[in-house]
Symmetry: C2
Subunit: 163 residues, 2 copies
């Protein structure tokens, strides 16, 4: 039973079903990249991943997004979006504008300061990610993205079935 050295995740998992093994490896890898990104965002820009994520969504939607659209795109609950938006608003990086067509809704937009702050962060953030994924060839990244796309829509279908 003595073999070559293994890291914790490898050891923990080596006798599980393939699907479990893959899932645990996805979790571990994800956590690793996420922790690294969070640390860098904190060190370089004193900000956090969810705030960066929210701003990234807004940057792609210059006319603004309703809270519910943010919630859907970020895949988090509405209450969460309310909180993060509150903080970004206090920091002057986003603003809530009235939605002319629906008085219940807001249109959340980046302020000019928010757009400037995001541009600076986004460039460096992209470098970090490119660096993290530099181990994989373009072809391998394409393969993985395709497998993930299928997995994602399969799980989404399962969820809709249960709903």
């Amino acid at each position: 039973m003595a073999g070559r050295p293994m890291d914790a995740e490898t050891r923990a998992v080596s006798d599980d079903h393939g699907a479990i093994r893959l899932w645990l490896r996805m979790l571990a890898t994800n956590r690793l990249v996420e922790t690294r990104t969070r640390r860098l965002l904190q060190e370089r820009y004193s900000t956090t991943l969810p705030r960066f994520d929210l701003m990234a969504q807004l940057e792609r939607a210059p006319r603004g997004l309703k809270m519910g659209e943010l919630s859907k795109r970020m895949m988090v609950t509405g209450g969460n979006v309310t909180g993060i938006t509150d903080l970004l608003e206090e920091e002057g990086l986003v603003e809530r504008a009235a939605d002319p067509g629906d008085r219940r809704a807001w249109l959340v937009r980046l302020t000019p300061a928010g757009r400037r702050a995001f541009a600076a962060m986004a460039e460096e953030h992209e470098r970090w990610i490119v660096e993290s994924f530099a181990e994989l060839s373009g072809r391998e990244m394409t393969t993985m993205a395709a497998l993930l796309a299928r997995l994602k829509s399969h799980v989404r279908a399962l969820e809709e079935r249960d709903a």
Copy 2:
């Protein structure tokens, strides 16, 4: 680098580097499977993913684990492990036993009730994961696991370089 103009939607998709696209897809897929698993754990066993995860680590280490080992294997900080262990201890599912060799440390173990509870959950949990990943063939899962293994150790190396 200057190209012809694009509308916002096109730019959002095609300007992104392959690494960013892949990373966003990993995040989304992960979140989807995680949300589903969390929901099922809550509905069927009134428990949570971190508690399940901690118990899974202990189940593989019958002699118990020190807090620090739990922290390393779960890839979370020590304070987090303290909190989750406190709750599981209140529920009677794990216990802190003194480490005979080090009075600073605990050996955390599943109680008999914890072992029973975990066995019931684990079987069903494995079914959920197998079902989620049923879209991929065994060969595809192997491919993806291999790519993730390389990605993981690359990022781990980056982290060690920075440290």
